[in-house]
Structure formats: C-alpha cells, structure tokens
Amino acid sequence: MAGRERIVEVATSNALWGAVTGLVAGSLVGALMQFQGMFGDIGSVAPSWAVFLGSATAIGGAIGVITDHRPHELAAAVSGGALVGLLGWLVIALTLNPLLHGTPPTWTVAAAATVYRTLIGAVLHGALTGAALHGLWSVRRPRCGSGAAPVAPLTRVVIVGGGFAGVSAAQRFERLVLRGVTIDVTVISDSNFLLFTPMLAEVASSALEPAHISAPVRSAVTHTRFRHGAVDDIDTTGRAVVMSGERVPYDHLVIAVGSVPSFFDLPGVEENSFTMKDLADATRLRDHVIELLERCDQLTDPHERERLLTFVVAGGGFAGAETVAELFDLVHGVLHLYPGITADEPRFVLVHSRDRILPELSPQLGAYALERLRARGIGFRLGIRVAEASRDAVRLSDGARISTATFVWTAGTRPSAFVARIAGEHTRNGALVTDATFRVTGLDRVWAVGDCARVPDLDQGGAPFPPTAQHALRQGRAVADNIAAIIAGRPPVAFRFRTIGVLVALGHRTAAAEIRGHRFSGLAAWLLWRGIYLAKLPGTEKRVRVLLDWLLDLVFPRDVVVTTKSRAVASPAPEPGANGGHR
C-alpha cells in the first residue's frame, strides 16, 4: 500500500474509533448533564443534545488522531484525553457556541462563567474517552500503536555510490519514508563523503581547504544505513550486492557509482599524469606544484627549470579549463615567496582535441573564455590530441614534444570498471543503458543514474543526458520516486529535465555562465558562479566554511604548506605511477 494512503487510512481509522468512543463517553457525561438539567441554558433540550454529542464525537475523533497509543501508559492516555477535552472546550463552548447563537465570542471570565459547567463536563469526557480508547487499543493492537513500525516486511533498497546521484536518492527516500513508504535503504560507497566536484579546482589552487568541499555521507543522510567499502560484485539473479565476501540482499538496486578518468590506452598517460576526480588528486596536484616551485627557486639548470615550470593540461572541458586557470592563479599567487623565479618563467599549456574549448558553452562564450585565458599568457594547442606521455614530457599528435613535470589529464571519463561487470546492456564506454525511467535494460529491479548511466532524454530525441551534477541530483530524486511508485503498484515516470545552465570559473574574478539562454561573463558571471555553487554546497556548515575561506582569501595570501611528500620531485626522474596519476 502506498505510504500516504496507509497513513491516511490509519489516521481515519483512529479518528473513527476515537469518534465512536467519544460519542459513547459523551452519552454517559451527557446523560449526567441531562439528569442534572444542564442543557436548559444553552437552548432547548433537543438541539443542545445534538450540539453536545456532536462536539463529544469531534473531540473523541481528535483524541483518536493526535494521541499515540503507548502500551502501559494509561495515565498518559487519560491526561492526554483531558488535555484535548479542555482545548475542545475553548474552541467549542467558548468560541463556536456564542457564534452559533449569533454573538461574537469575548472569552472574558464572565463569558466563561456562563458555560463553566460544560468545562467540567469536558474534562470528565476527555479523560473518560482517553481511558476508553487506551483500553480499546490495548485489546485491538496489544503491541503497536498508530505510529509503530509497520508489520509488513520492508522493501530493501541498496544504493551503490555516494556521489550526487546516490546521496540525493537516499535523501529522497528519507522523505518518502516519512510519507509512509515502507523501505529500508542502505548506501554503499567506497568514499565516506560526498565530494562537491565543482570546487575541486579551487582546492588544487590552495584557495579552499579540502575537507570544506565535502560532506560526510553519514551526516547527509542521517537516517539511512551507510556501509563504507568497495563492492566486489553484483548478483543480479540472486538479488544481492557482494562486498568483502558478504552478501547484501536487495529488492531494488540503484547503481550510481559515477565515473573515473579514461586514458584511452594512450601509452604512458595513466602512469605519468595527474587527474582531477577526487580530493586526493587535487591535494596531490597542489603539493606537487608547490614542491616544484621550491625546487626551481634553487635550481640553476635552465632546461630543467623550463621543464619543471611547464604545466600541461589535457582536455578543454570544464575540468580542464578550470584546472589550468586555477593552476595559473596558484603559481602567480605565491610567486612572490619565491624570489628565484621570475613571473615570465612559468608556462601553461592546454591541449584540446577540438577547435574550440568548452564545447558545452555557446561559441561566443567559448571564444570569450579562450580570449581571457590567452590574455593571461596561457598557451593553447587546439585540434590536437595527446599521443603519449613519459616521466618528463608529453608528446602530441602533431609530433610536438613538451617537456614538463606536471601533466594533468582531464580529457576523458568512463564509468568505473566495476560497472562493466554488471550484466545488462552497456554503451561503448561501459555505461549502463537505461530507459527513460532509469531501469537498466535487460535487468529486473536494477536502476542506474548519474554519470555511470546512459539515460535517454526524450525531449532531445533520445540523446543521453550530459554527465553533470545538476542532472545527477535530479536523477537521484527521480529514481527514488520511481522505485516508490513501483512499490505502490504505479508505473514509473520518465525523467524529463531541461538543463538550467552551465557555469565555468576561469580563475581570478572571471567566469562564463549560460543560464536558460542568458549569457554572462566576467565579474558578473564569477559572482554568479560563487553564489550559485555556495548555495549548492551540501550543508550549512560547509557553506559557512567555504565562505570564510573565500573571505580570508581576500586578506591573506595563499598557503604554500606542503602536506604530502611527492617523490616525483624528490628525484628528477619520477618513478612510474608515483605521482598519483594511476587509478
């Protein structure tokens, strides 16, 4: 049964039983009042009886609805009944009764005195009803009350992944549980926090503290079971998730594991590049850059200096553009601490396979971003791919070789390898193919949302939704609603969503934004970027902390404390994979 309907049904049943009990108790108290000749002063006998029994029934119904049955607490039931009876007297005898007789209520002591006898009747009636209802419920439901746990077994929902899609689905489920959906939700994730990826580049540039852009999953979904760990396998026939040899059974499974970098099997790229997917990546990149500056401050070999001070970013999407802009800000923001390095020495290169960067933006804004970044001295190699990477250089598809110690790869993502092992239909890059309601094609009771799913956009002729946070958030909510619909025996609803807008930060006080067709650039877009993403951060605490970071950034210089040791710089020739590029 659907949750809301069940709650309404329980409340209606409680109200009915309460009304019947109230009527019976009201008849007893009314008989006493009749016997005492008390109905005279409210009017003639017949309507007074009707009014009295009507109000007794209404008060009984209210007692039935608002008091929760707790076994063994007769005293609470009696006093709760008396309380409602007294409040009912205020409403009925002191307010509605004068209104019925055509006079405005005054609530004065004198007015109360005229109907005071009914007050004592109300106390007795309320207490009697409370006690009788308690007895009735003790007989009918010896163990559970209206608010107790449902008897039917809970539908088990397991969400794999603690990113935007997974956490928003879990949050939605918490709301649905309140509406009476009988589910038991477990979130399984290999990281115990929800990372706010749009601000990752600012962590890499030392503008934000790493912990400030992430919120623990446990505090984001306080009433959901959380299991920290990697999923080994999914048994879609036996309906269980396997982790550390243990089987976690499910009735509905939501896959929301997100994506990992894809290196397209290019030689040396995975081993010799930095990525920008999680907090560790961002901190590692930042520490690496600062260590390079420390080293160059004392280095005399001009070739080695040039190599160490060349920063190459592959990929001209959001992540690439923001990373190169933030790296630029970081290096030039702290350069005054390194007198041995001149401002014209650091060199930044962005390699992009297409003709224009930021293809998600309109051509005008893409051109604007390119022009702004170029004006700062960032070099662009457009229409060219990275062909190969080694410990000390990057080779491009046109044969050029760039000597560098810092190569950041943002040029491709794919769903994690684990997704490929799940049965069901996959796209070429491994994403799970779903229908518009998120059901994975070819699998029963398995749903996929976020970056690891290919969800068709019915308004765009079935083209997939782009892998962004705004889509993942809404898909998470929608999949929770759809699962609740299935449980309630209703058909799931196809997901429809029109992208609200896109925002990209281009470093110091500059950004580009496109919201519902309106284009913004420069300082206005930058303020918009900060305002919108600040509001979107998970939790007030993180918002306040990030805001403080930003405010402190106005008056204090960036920090150059290195918290991890990067062996890439400790020895001129880094060991393969030591710089964290691999996954």
Binding site: I66, S79, I120, V123
Partner: protein, 476 residues
C-alpha cells in the same frame, strides 16, 4: 504475551495498587487534617445523611485509600523519575477535585452537581486539599516503591538550585520593582527555598531547557500553594486559610511564583550546562547536538510556526481590541502597527520555542502539549508582566488584572496549540529524528522519549487545568 509476562504485569499492577493505597492513607491523613482545620469534614459525612465529623473522616479515609490505589494503578507502568511522580500526583488530585467534590459528592448526597462557577468557588478550599493529597500521595508512593530510580542531589546541586532561585528572585525584585507587595527578605527566602527544592524534587539530570521550563511553571504553581497560600497565612495568623477570599487575595502572587518557578528551572539548567561546558572534561557526557547542524532550519520552522499561531491569535486580538495596546510597545496606537508588532512577537516566541523544544515532540499530542504549556507561560510572562511593564504600567498581578487578561489567555493557549502542532509537523516532515536505523539509536531515542515524556502528559494537563481554573480563582 506469555503467561509469565502476563502474571508479572498483573503482579506489578497489584503492587502498584497496594503501594498506592498505602500512599493514599498518608495523603488522606494530611488532607483530613486540613479538612478538620477548615471544618469541612461534615460535608463528606453528608453522603451518609449525617454531619458527624468522625463519620466524615472515616469516609474520607476510605476514599483516600481507594483513590490512592487508583493512582498506583495508573502510574504503575509510568517510567518516570521519582520527583516527577509528584506532577502526576498533582494532576491526579486536581482531576479528583473535578470528579469528587464537584460531581460525585453532591450526587451521592442527593444534590445537583456543583459544576457552576459559583459552586466551584464554594469548594475552592477543597481544590488545594486535593492538590495536597495528590502531591503527598505521590511522594509516599515513590518512597514505598523503592524499585524506582531515585536521585540524591549533591550539596553542589542544592547550592546551584539556591543560586538559581535567588538570582530569579533578584531579577523579579529589581526588574519588576516589586513582587506583588512581598517583602524583600521574604522574597529571597522563598527564592532560596524554591531553588533548593527544585533539584531535591526533580534531580539534576541534564535535559533540554523547554521541558524544564514547563516543569518549572508547574513547580511555581506548587510553590505558590505552599508559600503564598499555606505557609504565609500560617505564619501570619496561625490558621490554615484556603477560603475563597484568601485565595482571591493570594492570586496576585500567582504570576510571580510561576515566573519564579520557570525561571529557577531555566537558570538551574543553564548553570548546570555552563558548569558542564566549562569544567566537564568527559565528552561522553556531552550529548548536546551542535547548534549549527540543523539548528538554522529549526529556527526557520519556529518562525513559520510562530506566524501561523500568531494569525490564529490575531482573531482573539481583534475581537477583544487588544492590538492598540500591543502597538503601545513601540509607542504607537494604530491597530496595523499593533498587528505587525504582534506578528513579530509571535515569530520571536516561535523561534524561542524551536530553540527550547526542538526534537521534544514525539507525536501531535506532545507537540500540542508543549505548545499549549509554553503559550500559558507566555501569557504570564508576556501579557501579565512584560506588556504592562514595557508600556509603562505596573504588572497585571492582581485578581482583577488576571481576570481582565482571560481573553488573552485563551488566545495564548490557542497560539501555543497551533505553534506546537505546526512545528511538530514541520519537524516531522524533514527531520525524522525518531526514525531509527540501528538498535543503539533506537535505545537512545527510547531513553530520551522516556526521560522527556515520563511526566510530560501530566505537566500539560496540569497547566491547562490550572489555566482554566483561573476563572474560579479570580472571579469576584
């Protein structure tokens, strides 16, 4: 249910009834003594168509034992701390005042029931006798049943209580100039004793301020009966005087005593919290949730619930033409200004409700219960005290003033009921804190539930009964 469990339950109930009967004897003796002093024993004897005092006393003791056993039955399964049983006793006693002298006694004596205000006023002394009986029965019940959790307050706790009592008395004296004619020494004496008595009765358990505030309100009522209505006349004239006239005269001191009780509870808790915060080095003792977490949202809900409650209250305000008085707070006379000021106040009180009572409503009934009780406290603090003082008049602490404020009391109770109900709904919608995912969490919630609600229904009922007994206390 197994046979063993059933027999255990019935034996527990039996023990409760027996203990209640024993406690009823003591309570009956105390009440009987008061009745003998007041010369009302023949009234009881009139059931048997006689007016011999000893018949009345015997009959009274039989009732006392039976009603005491009933008390034992009712609270046998109530998991409450020792001192809080007193609240149950008080509400039980008050309930029996409605049922006994107002209803059953006249019926048994062949007279019409005494439900009219005039009749109720005639048996007003009996109300205090019943309250005394309920309180004493509850205390003895706790002492007889040693299986209940008892807390022995340490000297430091007593000192903290006394400090709280004196501090609140000082504020009442200095801030409001006078405590309804009470002498300075008497005021501080009462403050000290009330402060010492609070931890003695309710222990020093840490809890949220809201429930403590409401308990303090009830405690203030108790203090009023004990000090202003009983001890003071006894010291002055040597006789127990619970007569209607004496009560109407003493009712002027009811608001300050209520404020004293509520304030003592609040300051006592705050001092305890401060001590824990400054000197408590064991974080395990700190169960208090950081206010930054979901506190902001709760504050917003409080403001919203306050506005909704305030709109309900506005109906009363308009009908009794109170808005210009409220506008006087900002030096204006316009009803529109009054409405705005009123809604702002309603919102602020709503926010304070959220701060004090967050996560203390377990169902709609408890939401309404806390809200109504809080509304009553604000009637005493706001309408009877702050509103006149801030508009340049003395507090409305007199029988006439309280009677004049009765419409506003109805408004405050309605406001509180709506505030509590709306806040509970809002909190339940987004913050299902009772929704448990693990056994440990469920146990913690159950413990909190028991601690908070052990005596709460009695508190709410007592406060609403007190509120609606006010016409009896003050009508001329």
């Amino acid at each position: 249910m197994t046979v063993t469990a059933a027999s255990f339950r019935s034996s527990a109930i039996g023990r409760g009834a027996a203990a209640g009967a024993v406690a009823g004897i003591v309570g009956g003796l105390v009440f009987g003594a008061a009745m003998a002093a007041g010369g009302t024993l023949p009234t009881v004897a009139s059931i048997l168509r006689t007016d011999a005092p000893w018949v009345g006393f015997t009959l009274h003791m039989v009732f006392a034992v039976l009603i005491g056993a009933g008390f034992g039955l009712l609270v046998a399964h109530q998991r409450v701390r020792a001192g809080e049983t007193v609240i149950w006793g008080l509400v039980y006693g008050m309930f029996w005042w409605f049922l006994g002298p107002l209803t059953l006694l006249p019926l048994l004596a062949g007279r019409p029931v005494a439900w009219d205000l005039v009749d109720a006023r005639a048996v007003l002394p009996s109300l205090f006798g019943h309250l005394l009986y309920g309180g004493v029965t509850a205390v003895v019940f706790v002492m007889v049943r040693r299986d209940r959790l008892r807390m022995r307050p340490r000297p430091a706790t007593g000192f903290r209580g006394a400090l709280a009592g004196v501090a609140v008395s000082a504020v009442l004296y200095l801030g409001l100039d006078v405590m309804a004619g009470a002498a300075l020494g008497w005021l501080f004496l009462v403050g000290t004793i009330a402060g010492l008595g609070y931890p003695l009765l309710f222990g020093a358990a840490r809890e949220r301020s809201g429930p403590a505030l409401i308990r303090g309100t009830a405690y203030g009522f108790l203090c009023w009966i004990a000090a202003a209505l009983t001890v003071a006349p006894l010291l002055r004239t040597g006789t127990l005087d619970w007569s209607t006239g004496a009560v109407t005269a003493a009712v002027a001191q009811l608001p300050p005593y209520i404020l004293l009780g509520a304030g003592t509870a609040l300051v006592f808790g705050a001092l305890g919290g401060l001590r824990g915060w400054l000197f408590g080095d064991d974080v395990r003792a700190r169960r208090v949730e950081s206010p930054g977490g979901r506190g902001l949202r709760a504050t917003g809900y409080g403001a919203l619930a306050g506005v909704v409650g305030g709109l309900v209250f506005t109906v009363v305000m308009v009908l009794v033409n109170e808005l210009p008085t409220v506008a006087g707070l900002v030096g204006a006379r316009s009803p529109v200004v009054g409405l705005i000021v009123h809604l702002v106040i309603a919102q602020l009180i709503g926010v304070s409700y959220a701060v004090l009572f967050r996560r203390r409503s377990f169902d709609l009934a408890s939401g309404i219960g806390w809200g109504v009780s809080y509304g009553f406290l604000w009637w005493v603090l706001g309408d009877l005290t702050l509103l006149p003082v801030l508009t340049g008049a003395p507090p409305q602490w007199s029988a006439a003033g309280i009677a004049a404020g009765f419409p506003s009391l109805v408004g405050h109770l309605g406001y509180g009921a709506v505030l509590g109900a709306v806040y509970y709904r809002l909190e339940a919608r987004t913050n299902p804190w009772w929704f448990r995912r693990s056994t440990a969490e469920a146990e913690r919630v159950a413990a909190q539930h028991d601690q908070t609600l052990g005596s709460a229904p009695a508190l709410w009922a007592l406060i609403v009964m007190l509120a609606l007994t006010i016409p009896v206390l003050v009508s001329p």
